[in-house]
């Protein structure tokens, strides 16, 4: 795990350690997810005879994006079944956050042929897409190759990968799963971005109003409801994929709110 993420995801790190695993902090590069991936690949080629490499997102070389998508797509299939019971029809929109894009791909994939449902992926807008300080390659990237996949990538004109900025560790990645790039290019899914500030606001609102503390990743998806619901009819059914719980992010949020434990 990137050393910066070990710090801001300390609760998750402690949990992983309780389960008996070792966590190696990675100091190279920006010390976040991309650098952890570089180091995992380096470890793998060194210990390839007794190590299996697996990536937690829908990126990397084939067949990893397919493996992760297929396992995650149980969520989308479940949403289709439950929508029949709850709404008597398919939802008008499905909203999910996109870093590498595994939770989004899991819920989007079974819906690809269900044209009546809008698929909306929400990327990390960081300080704002126009500032360049973000992690939104589908909004502000160009095609490139990183970690064995060709996809939209945050890069400069020389093909060097740019540093990313997001309050959310899980979205802080300069690339994105290649199938998302495809869904963008064929126009089947829409990809928008939400700033750190709006995501934090949504984190507080959802926690207070629903009693559900969403992960900061998920908070990006919730934050997009505000502009989205303004353009939809009040009877519209919208499904938000709650990709993770927010207790792991409590240190980050408390620090921003100026609270010390």
């Amino acid at each position: 795990m990137g050393a910066e993420d070990v710090r801001r995801q300390s609760l998750n790190v402690y949990r992983i350690k309780l389960l008996g695993a070792h966590v190696h902090p990675v100091d190279s590069g920006s010390a976040t997810l991309k650098d952890a991936l570089n180091e995992a690949l380096r470890d793998w080629v060194t210990n390839v005879d007794d190590t299996y490499y697996i990536i937690g997102s829908v990126t990397g070389p084939h067949p990893y994006p397919m493996i992760v998508r297929d396992f995650n797509s149980v969520v989308g299939k479940e949403v289709i079944e439950q929508s029949k019971d709850l709404f008597g029809k398919m939802p008008d929109a499905v909203v999910a956050c996109v870093g590498g894009g595994s939770n989004a791909m899991g819920i989007f994939h079974p819906f690809i042929d269900i044209q009546e449902t809008r698929l909306i992926g929400v990327e990390a807008g960081g300080e704002g897409v126009s500032t360049g300080e973000h992690a939104a390659p589908l909004n502000d990237g160009t095609p490139g190759v990183l970690h064995g996949a060709r996809s939209y990538l945050m890069q400069d004109e020389s093909g060097q990968v740019k540093d990313t900025k997001s309050v959310s560790a899980g979205l802080d990645y300069p690339g994105v799963g290649p199938e998302h790039s495809w869904l963008k290019d064929i126009g089947r899914a829409e990809y928008v971005a939400v700033s750190d500030d709006d995501a934090l606001k949504a984190f507080h609102e959802v926690t207070e109003l629903e009693g559900i503390m969403p992960a900061l990743e998920t908070a990006h998806a919730f934050a997009y409801l505000e502009p989205l619901m303004k353009e939809l009819d009040s009877s519209a059914n919208v499904v938000v994929n709650v990709s993770g719980r927010g207790d792991k992010d409590i240190n980050t949020v408390a620090e921003i709110d100026g609270i010390e434990f």
Partner: protein, 261 residues
């Protein structure tokens, strides 16, 4: 004929092994890189491999990673590296030059790579494409540039054949499981695998990754067509980057040359 192909043929006909030496362009600065290239040649180096710096060099160990980082701080681009090669060619039209780098850099500069003339770089080694692919797959069809594919200790037999056929420059045999600069050479395995490669292809096979001592060099040269030295040189460049007294590098290369002769 391509400068690299003809040089390696010539060495083979005279029963000599090739000494390939690596450095990262722009580490510590481009003027020093040019001086070092001439020092390499004066010290017996047959082929110069220029590392093209990339933000995420996944095949590199810590020594070369840091060299990439230092070069990137100087904003070294592929265009600047080709200008460096032009300068080198003003006084040296003999020594073949291989550019070693990562796919994203080359596909970000397709026009530039297409325009490489006869009196420039001679070959491109892309570290992060499957061995069956090469730059042609990505629309780069420059006849002045030949390709080098990598084969590792874990490459399956059926792939060895197709990868070997895909190499027009030389075949780069990765001598260990790991990244550049590691130290776990298994000489018996290396011998067996290089013999296997040579059954499938007439292209010269160079052994690289983890070769540090004159003993390694002499043993591996005996079972291959030449050796590649990288991390040891890059480390010495880093040590002397302030004083720029690189006499030790010349001495080291001459010792290596003697060891493989």
């Amino acid at each position: 004929m391509n400068r690299l192909t003809s040089k390696l043929q010539n060495l083979k006909e005279n029963n000599k092994k090739a000494l390939v030496a690596y450095l990262v362009a722009g580490d510590p600065d481009l003027d020093t890189t040019l001086d070092l290239m001439h020092l390499f040649v004066d010290s017996g180096v047959d082929v110069i491999e220029i590392g093209v710096p990339f933000t995420d060099p996944i095949a590199e160990g810590p020594t070369i990673q840091k060299a990439h980082d230092r070069a990137l701080k100087n904003n070294i681009s592929l265009k600047m590296i080709l200008e460096l090669v032009d300068k080198f060619r003003e006084t040296n039209t003999e020594t073949p030059i291989v550019l070693m780098g990562y796919l994203n850099t080359f596909i970000s500069h397709i026009d530039l790579v297409q325009s490489i003339g006869e009196n420039s770089a001679d070959s491109i080694l892309v570290v992060d494409v499957p061995g069956e692919l090469n730059l042609q797959t990505y629309g780069i069809t420059n006849p002045n540039i030949n390709t080098i594919s990598l084969i590792s200790p874990t490459t399956k037999d059926d792939r060895v054949e197709s990868i070997a056929k895909n190499s027009t420059g030389f075949i780069y045999y990765v001598t260990l499981r790991g990244v550049t600069g590691s130290s776990n050479l298994n000489i018996e395995e290396i011998k067996t695998n290089i013999q296997k490669i040579q059954q499938y292809s007439d292209a010269p096979t160079m052994a690289g990754f983890g070769i540090k001592s004159v003993e390694d060099a002499s043993t591996l040269a005996a079972c291959s067509d030449g050796i590649v030295i990288g991390s040891s040189i890059v480390e010495m460049i880093a040590d002397e980057s302030k004083t720029k007294e690189f006499g030790r590098i010349g001495e080291y290369l001459r010792e290596m040359k003697t060891a493989i002769s």
